[in-house]
Symmetry: C2
Subunit: 458 residues, 2 copies
Amino acid sequence: MKNIIIVLVLFSFIFLPSRGAAQDENQTVIQSIFDNALSTDIAYKQLEKLCKEAPGRLIGTPNSFKSVGLMKEYLTNLGADTVFLQSFTSPAWICHSAFLTMTIDGKEIPLQVDALGPCGSTPLPGIHAEIIEVMSLDEVRELGKEKIEGKIVFFNRPMNTTYFNVFKAYSEAVDQRYWGPSLAQEYGAVGSITRSANPNMDDFPHTGSCRMEGNKIPAIAISTNDAEKLSKVLKSNPQLKVNIQVDAEDITTQSYNLIADLKGSEKPNEYIIVAGHLDAWHNTEGAHDDGVGCLQSTEVLRLFKQLGLNNKRSIRVILYMDEELYQSGGNAYVVYSKEQQVMNYFAIESDAGGFSPRFFSVDAPDIVLEKIKKYESFLKPYGIEEITAGGSGVDIGPMKELGVPLSGYRTDWQRYFDMHHSANDTFDQVNFREMQLGSGAMASFVYLIDKYDLANQN
Amino acid sequence: MKNIIIVLVLFSFIFLPSRGAAQDENQTVIQSIFDNALSTDIAYKQLEKLCKEAPGRLIGTPNSFKSVGLMKEYLTNLGADTVFLQSFTSPAWICHSAFLTMTIDGKEIPLQVDALGPCGSTPLPGIHAEIIEVMSLDEVRELGKEKIEGKIVFFNRPMNTTYFNVFKAYSEAVDQRYWGPSLAQEYGAVGSITRSANPNMDDFPHTGSCRMEGNKIPAIAISTNDAEKLSKVLKSNPQLKVNIQVDAEDITTQSYNLIADLKGSEKPNEYIIVAGHLDAWHNTEGAHDDGVGCLQSTEVLRLFKQLGLNNKRSIRVILYMDEELYQSGGNAYVVYSKEQQVMNYFAIESDAGGFSPRFFSVDAPDIVLEKIKKYESFLKPYGIEEITAGGSGVDIGPMKELGVPLSGYRTDWQRYFDMHHSANDTFDQVNFREMQLGSGAMASFVYLIDKYDLANQN
């Protein structure tokens, strides 16, 4: 694309906001929000710091505590009126190592794997066993205890990458990861291997949570390339034995949600919650999931303060701990809200990666949604196509029982599962503009929520 | 983001197409197009080949001819009914090298630069001259000949990165690159340096076209980092002399648009044009600009053929040559169309990078646009927000004089100018899904255009 004179004529119609007299104030404020968000890199630099200095921030790990400290200092320096740790006790799971090797012609070949949380450990030398490859949970049930017992179950159904909605592809594939290990255990398996929920063929194992209880077996994710390699070897050598080794421990830990408030001018006891989650899997910098969501949330506070937007209600940033394993932080905040009689007026979470904005979804009564939908016209010039009924976020979800209207920030997430829960989810995969358009969209949305009263809420 | 059970409930509402009885056939076909596009990587692999084996494909260069050959073979193998070269003669500009050095404390420091096309050359040892830094074209006019003569003009106004529409930021900055060198020349400058039109601070010079005639002076782009560095040095040392060296030549060349047809079943003499441009600047693989557009165009042909979509009209893929410098290919096809009395029924170009789909813009009479807008509902489930009035593409633009309805494929291009016209525009910056969503969107759009007659067209 070249000649600017030609091209400007061709393209200049796109995205330019239309103006009506009554809308001017909102448009001016929202433009000032985006102007600032797109020209200020403090959050982007802090994201880099968080990713590089405190990767692998699962609850209970040293880096989870470090990340709370890093972000507490950051929020204090931003000038939040109050910054505090909301403490709770939670189970946690610490992963030290995970290995899978296959021996072919006397040569031991390591495969790219990582442990699923919170799986069980193996004895130190690992477990040596045959593999049985399956494509579904049902196949395990059909094979029954006789065929499964004493073996390692290998769930190898690929993601269906033909959907436009890559999250749908993820959700269809990931039953193997979430329910597979416990099902295998129920049928007497000694271990479980799950193909990574990754739309691409590459060498990154993608971990994630599995539902496990009791005498837990080791459970690992394998990279898509090595899933294919292992499957191929099994076809010519069905009796192949592999060695699986996992070293992990279950502990109980004290942990914290990090909370920062910017006091409201008229209704300081009503809180608009803006949230992300600080924890990230042990194998990743957790840039898109969910360092970005944390920094976009802090940006809402920073933008309100720096631009003097004079929020009527208090804006409360919550950087939750433990979205990934037990959702302890989300649940603990609800307990805390009940105990302290906190008036949570509205909550929004960013946990869909640092990609271009596309939607806000709202989980609230129709009458509230209809009111909020009226904000669409102000946000459309900045890439928000629609405000639509839908879910919110895993951390704020528990607030639904309190009657709080909830919202989720939704992105153009076609690249999300390329990186999700893997060592590929790094700071350098986050584009400054795409992240900051999200910060601007969230701050603008919160500005409108705060300015206009929600109908019949709570 | 974790627990799939929770998350599926929260998110599954997004993007799922709604179905009405009358729409079923279109929806089924369009779904089959996306199913195929998202699970077939032949175009993505060919993009890699094009980028790696024939980077720097400016018209007249060896790699421009090589790229035509590579893509001709590819289109033939795809099973196009006809593949041919549409030949024309054009001016061309071949860049051999460009350097800029500043000498500080006796030490020669090279800066990251590249030549703008089609600028002039320097004598072999380069030109040694003082620099005068300006922020606008007007500043050159105000300074006048007295201050400019014998110097190198350094245009250093940064992009305004606060706009949502990054293209607007580009278009506002790039007058310095397009008109700056000739204006500097007019006022007696011996050379011109322009800050790269890049929203980021980094080391990539971003080249591009400039309007130059006569006894052309050397004109270069400098990386944003080095623009800052140079500016800083000039503040403490305004008499700094730099050495600018450009080795380039103007030639006349035979060149080619590459054309491939898939014959229509009912109206084979009416052509629906699907286009990208093969040429790319001398410093780049030209992945997003516009290798992607070429491969998305070939995908339309492949999808129609492979899925047996039975196009009524002929689908004509045109991979244009020389979008970047003189638009010779686009103009030559119009000449050819007149000579051969080609009935071009509709034309669409992809030249906005391989990012997620967002719009189709249409440059046609209102009555045609209104008809085409009715397709929106079929495309919305695949990320096309809107079909809207607007421009098309630089290569197909000249067809407007023939009365052809034109369209441009529009993307979520927030990352575009990070790479545009620089060595950073590489294959690995293209995401498979994002590119192929564009292929699917274009094929689906063409399917609808072919199926329903356009009102009052031509």
